[in-house]
């Protein structure tokens, strides 16, 4: 067999010139993880079966090392103003202790990264960027903050980021923190202690489950990881890798930069026009293009597909309508929760409308290596956690 996954292993030998290691890489090696070079970082792809890790997060809890994510701080009297100019969201309106999902766009409205911005204080924000974009986002923020009283610092090396995700997360974390988790709302963050270490504790995630993200000092990461692992074992917590993280976010209909989002797409294309705050005061980069895009009839739409065979639609495969190409798959995987292949795809607006009709059966397919495999259009997300 030939497979990129196998040749991909060629780059996974840790050495001094290889990908960056996180404060937890040694822990992953001890656990026997399959490690992979992800955006220049040596990251755990899986520890055992990624399907089992996925299911543990849906039913109990999973522990993730996300230390590859970029952490940038923006501080100063004009920090909020600088972010309001640099990003599409209204960050001045964000209260300290709260967080928001937002994006940084180019002048033409193309998405340069999607971000979570935490307001830590009136004059201090923490911007979490995708690993592959962190350096570029830091440069963009500095450039866009020029002339304002706000400083941008890349603090990625100063933070380990550990996520605990899944319905049992609060039960596991509760006894190990001084924070009263019942008071920590979704998309909120608090300075807290976890396993005796000072951290920033946030109720955020990328799995579609309840859960927490823990920003810790690198030297505290292993202690926190080990303590959570031990305390969580009785609850069914397992370490989970990037493979499970990807299928979890796909089921939850969450976009991945580089797949559903990129410089050739606006937030509106991805169905995320709501993050563009055209009514906020002042100019921001991309405003004119995004205002025009908000008014225009969309040419394409991001849709959910469920494969009707066992063949999996994957990134880059063509979507077919009556046999003719009408779009492209952006992400696809076998869904452990649905027990069927699922995918997100951009298709023409016309097909997105027609394929949603009851009588569309048999007309929509995905070109899987030269075979038209039937698919069904479904509303996103594929999975919503039980209330």
């Amino acid at each position: 067999m030939t497979d990129p996954a196998i040749t991909g292993l060629a780059s996974t030998v840790p050495d001094t010139t290889g990908p960056r290691r996180t404060p937890l890489t040694q822990v992953h090696e001890r656990l026997g993880a399959t490690l992979t070079d992800f955006a220049g970082w040596l990251m755990p792809l899986r520890y055992g079966s990624e399907t089992a890790e996925h299911q543990a997060v849906r039913t109990a809890a999973g522990l993730f090392d996300l230390s590859h994510m970029g952490e940038l701080t923006v501080r100063g009297p004009q920090a909020a103003a600088a972010l309001d100019y640099a990003l599409v969201g209204n960050l001045a309106a964000l209260r300290p202790g709260r967080a928001r999902y937002t994006m940084i766009c180019a002048d033409d409205g193309g998405v340069l990264d999607d971000l979570i911005v935490y307001r830590l204080a009136d004059t201090e924000f923490l911007v979490v960027a995708n690993a592959a974009n962190a350096v570029a986002v830091a440069a963009l923020l500095r450039n866009r903050a020029a002339g304002m009283n706000a400083s941008v610092t890349d603090r990625t090396s100063d933070y380990a980021l550990i996520a605990i995700q899944g319905p049992r997360s609060a039960d596991i974390l509760g006894p190990l923190t001084d924070a009263s988790l019942g008071d920590v709302k979704y998309y909120a963050s608090y300075p807290a202690t976890v396993a005796g270490a000072a951290v920033l504790l946030a109720r955020t995630g990328y799995t579609g489950e309840d859960g927490f993200e823990i920003f810790a000092r690198p030297q505290d990461a292993e202690g926190i990881w080990t303590t959570l692992s031990k305390a969580g074992a009785d609850h069914g917590l397992v370490p989970a890798g990037l493979a499970a993280r990807d299928t979890l976010r796909l089921e939850a209909g969450m976009p991945l930069y580089g797949s559903e989002l990129g410089p050739n797409m606006t937030p509106f294309d991805a169905g995320l026009g709501r993050v563009v705050k055209l009514d906020k005061p002042g100019d921001f980069v991309g405003r004119a293009a995004l205002a025009a895009r908000a008014q225009a009839a969309p040419e394409r739409a991001l849709v959910g597909l469920v494969g009707q065979s066992r063949r999996v639609p994957r990134h880059g495969y063509s979507v077919l309508w009556d046999g003719a190409a009408c779009g492209t798959v952006t992400s696809g995987a076998p869904s452990p929760t649905l027990g069927a292949p699922i995918a997100m795809a951009y298709v023409t607006a016309a097909v997105a409308g027609e394929a949603a009709r009851e009588d569309a059966a048999g007309r929509l397919a995905v070109d899987v290596r030269g075979r038209a495999e039937p698919a069904k259009l479904v509303p996103l997300p594929f999975y919503r956690r039980p209330a």
Partner: protein, 133 residues
């Protein structure tokens, strides 16, 4: 990583066990680890003529789809009937219950004569070590 001594291997990560004029074929432990959870196998149907080094099927895993290559020339006589319902056997027991198909070797092969191009366990181990796993 397990590489049984008595088997032979392809550079594309299949194993083959030759017994008389019959060859059993599967994918290696190295391959199943690299692929992750196998969710579907399209093996060549009984009666299909296969050629050494040519693609003859596909393996779908969580992460990717990859071609399956025949290690030998011959005709497929049997496909593992368990794999369709339980493709995870390829992960849990790649050299045993996870076998994929059997081939009746073409004339001239078999009889202790090894088809050309196959690797010994030591050669395959060296190959995968070079690839860095």
């Amino acid at each position: 990583m397990s590489v049984p001594e008595e088997l032979h291997y392809t550079p594309e990560h299949e194993w083959v066990a030759i017994s008389g004029s019959t060859a059993s074929v599967g994918i290696t432990d190295h391959a199943q680890r690299a692929l992750g959870d196998v969710v579907f196998v399209s093996a060549p149907a009984a009666g299909t003529k296969v050629t050494a080094g040519e693609p003859c099927g596909e393996v779908e895993s969580t992460k990717s789809v990859s071609d399956l290559y025949s290690p030998v020339d011959g005709e497929v006589t049997e496909v593992n009937p368990e794999i369709d319902d339980d493709p995870g056997l390829v992960n849990s027991d790649p050299y045993g219950a996870g076998w994929l198909f059997k081939v009746s070797l073409a004339e001239g092969d078999g009889d202790g004569e090894l088809p050309p191009g196959l690797l010994s366990a030591a050669e395959y181990t060296a190959l995968t070590a070079e690839a860095g796993s």
